[in-house]
Subunit: 279 residues, 5 copies
């Protein structure tokens, strides 16, 4: 059961804020993605010659090659959408679904007892809720509930589809990067083997040949894979919260009893996040 | 919602053109497939001895071997169909489904108000729409709607099946190429190891042995895999658009109200591409 | 739609032959399976010392080991059935389903208008159609349609099951062969490493050690995998054609109208192979 | 259709024996599992120094490690059950389902015409049929058909579950063994690399390091994988036959007409094993 | 059928204890996870220089890197929940479902004949049953059966979800660890290759480079994989037992006949664990 229960209703109504602003950056994700990088960099620096790990040509082959193949698999628009989605959806804190449900019920209660126009004054406080803000805005304009639901449902599905697409792009990149690393290493090996006269160059040449494999292993396992997993998780949670918002905004548009809305929201909330707002 | 809404109807009708000609080559796909090649070639040339990367025998083993095994898995007809489909469906720009739906509605509206024979004059402008052109042609001949639908549905399914088959052929090739590369490299290694007397030949021999692996990695990851992914995507979009065309042409054949057709098209269009032509 | 339409009915009836004899060997499959072998053999011969690629002990380990493990996974009977199925079903040309359907309709038409006993004279011409021949034979004996259907259905399912089993055997072999190659190579490596005193023997010993990997890669990728894929395809097509034959023979046994049979056959035929025999 | 048809009924009834005794050991499975071992051993002996292939430490790491990890994944009871199931179910000849069905019908016929108590004298001959023996025993005791069915069904499901569990254990072992081999080889490599002063020890040390990989490849591919596959197959067949026995014993308990039982058995038998006992 | 049958009812009721306390640590799991470790450690010590196997930097890269990537894929809360679940659910003995069902029936019987308040005195004996203890506690408070069921069902689902999540975390860690091992080894190899002047350092440097692969193979195959498998199994069993407890506690809350409860419990118990308490 949620922490936010009916006992906190009065207090909550005074201080009617969206649960946690979406604009806040998810420090935990950024920190945890950084940990492996810092460890690898530390190992490189402790090893003495960090220069040996930088080779522009290899970086170009791995990053450019992965980018090219992934773009050929999808399209430039998919790649640029994926870039935006990663920035927006991966690095932002997911809100708590119980808190979002309670917040939506509070808004619905106000609308029920003071009329939908009274929501005008709460609108600025909703700015950070994205879809809910837009849903309430058109509800204030007098749009009927069915139309609100249709419009928001469409936005919800489009957003879910964008996320699914981006996960596909990231998984494809995680799959292609090692192949580009292998190709780069083979180029380096063939060049080295054709030039064995001076044994002193064998070591460094082979080191350079291995760099593409190294870069691609990092890209695939320390960047693309965690981003795809994280996005998949955040997408599930965002979809849940936006589904709650669609339900709430169209319920407000239909001027239904908020108690009915609570029942409806609970059918969608996971068992341990169900709410008990009206007791 | 689509950009092409009812406000543009008058303008659109004057200039009644198919949304984007299918004949246009998809420069983006070709460019993105080229990027990894250019990067690898640059790395080879910068390395100094590009000749070391060309070995006719190795090219024959990888390409010929992959071709043979894939042909044995499928049939010569499948391979040649796959070749045609790749040229036609991969390197051509997919049309926009909203625009195609609006365009089909325009044609349906003309047919409704001016009679189906009036479409005769618009037929040349439809030449680039493939299935729609053929559907309208037989509608003008007075073929009843059911027969138009059956004929076009058959063509649609046959085309979808051809694409699915081609994707299988490409995926099989992407799977077999590395195996042929390994076989070629083993041949080279065994030959080199049986001939170790002159140490100066070890390097070059081994370089040549690695070339089949190199070619096969390129073929599999930079050619077959992106082509298969791209085709899968384009096929989904073409099928959607052709489904719209089947609906439109058979609706014209049945002389139905275009408003009913719009509702029908919207059931098939993805949420963010639905149209609102009649307001 | 099929090439064989009603306009060719008169001509076809005169020259009533089964579409393409099953006895004909599929040259294309044999040729395409040979291509990779020829290329590898050419590469070996061009390399100068073909003897280095033959090692009886390695051949025994890979082929015998794969055979033993696959036989332990299945049973001796499965393996011998698989052997027969490969010879029969992989290397024989699949018939065209439209032609088979038209041919079956011709026979049904004759039976309808001249009586089922009139089929006696056409029976020798059906010898190459396998199941259809057996179905018509028992129909001439006066077996009722239901019994014909039950008997043939049983044969059809047994044959499909045999093919599925054989595909499993071939896929298992394609999976086990590389493992046996690895085991053989490890045996060779351990023997070579225990005997490093004479450096001149290292190369040849290692070459021999690699041969099991080489043989197993060839067996798995150039033999078992294409045979399994080909069989899967041919099996699908044979099942389709035999389903048509079951329908036709039991329709003849029930003395139904051939027009009804045509409709029935079209429900089973893929969209681009449907027939239009009675116009 | 089965070889055992109604024409053999009289003969069969005189000599009323269970089809093929379950106690007989499946020589074919044992032989085929032995073939790869014999080939590998022959290759080792022909190579001259079989001692180089025995290393107690490596055997302990691979077998003990795989055993420990698999036991941690499941439980000691699962492992010991798996051991028993492998001995019982893998190395015993599966009976023929048609013969088992005919045999069950013979017993049902006797029960029908001579009363269920008459089965007492045939009971010793059923000893090798396992579940059928137990079912007939409780039927003779006058247990009603429903109770017989419930009891036997429970035993049947428990046995199927035991087999499924054992297949999981074997597949897990086949998956874990190579990992233990890799770990052992890494231990050997690190030890060898830390001790490069005396070049003459490098070869033998590396040979020993490779032995864990060698053992694990043999364990995984030549023992666990075929045992799992074989058990899966035998389990399917045993379940089929025991299902027939459950049907027969409960039909006898209900004193139904054996003709009804035959129809029932045919619904479960695969198409090419259906029986035609009463003609 | 269960060992605990109706004949033991009197005895059992006197000594009314929860079947096997959950607090007991599962020695078998700990022992079996330790076996592979002990074997590897023994091999290392027998090899002479155990110091060569300890490298703090490598430990940091593998453990820290895996931790970081997994945390980025999930969230800090998921990881800490996973830690708790592993301690609680993996290393504790699963109870026997039959015994738990019989125990629940005994409590239900007491409640039926002595009233629900009589359970107060048995409550301390239930402390180790977790969910059942909490269910009976609220039943004593007079909570109606439906409310008990809803509350416990919610707890049950939340617990199952926590376990599923933890299995995902462990499987992800088992997948990521080898990648971090490869990255660490590549860092070591590049450093070694750039520093080949002194041949005597090559061996030890390469040994160190291999350590990350070694650590990651151990972490993945000897820790994460068995923990995930074990948890999956224990979770299935705990869910079964807790489902029994939910049924029993809500049946007590509804004051139903315990015979009805027995039937209900048997629908959920696996065939070979069904109970026969009331005979």
């Amino acid at each position: 059961m949620s922490d936010v229960d009916s006992s906190g209703r009065a207090a909550a109504r005074k201080n009617l804020q969206a649960p946690r602003a979406k604009a806040s950056i998810d420090v935990a994700t950024i920190a945890s993605i950084s940990i492996p990088f810092l460890l690898v960099i530390a190992a490189i620096i402790l090893g003495g010659s960090p220069d040996a790990f930088i080779d522009i040509k290899s970086i170009f082959i791995v990053i450019g090659g992965t980018f090219g193949v992934v773009m050929a698999c999808f399209s430039l628009r998919d790649i640029s959408t994926a870039g935006k989605v990663v920035v927006q959806a991966v690095f932002h804190t997911a809100r708590d679904s119980s808190a979002a449900a309670v917040h939506a019920l509070q808004i619905a209660e106000i609308s029920r007892y003071q009329g939908v126009l009274a929501l005008q004054q709460y609108l600025p406080g909703l700015a950070s809720t994205g879809m809910f803000y837009r849903g309430i805005s058109i509800a204030i304009d007098g749009t009927p509930g069915e139309k609100i639901e249709r419009t928001m449902q469409r936005e919800l599905q489009a957003s879910a589809q964008r996320n699914t697409r981006t996960v596909s792009v990231l998984r494809k990149a995680a799959e292609i990067a090692p192949a580009m690393g292998l190709i780069g290493t083979l180029v380096g090996l063939v060049q080295m083997l054709g030039n064995l006269e001076d044994p002193s160059t064998i070591g460094p040449s082979m080191a350079v040949a291995l760099l593409t494999t190294f870069y691609s292993a990092i890209l695939s396992n320390m960047v693309f894979t965690p981003l795809a997993s994280k996005l998949e998780q955040n997408s599930t949670e965002e979809t849940l919260i936006n589904t709650l918002y669609v339900m709430a905004a169209s319920s407000i548009g239909r001027q239904e009893n908020p108690r009915r809305l609570e029942m409806l929201l609970n059918t969608v909330l996971p068992p341990d996040h169900r709410i008990d707002y009206f007791g």
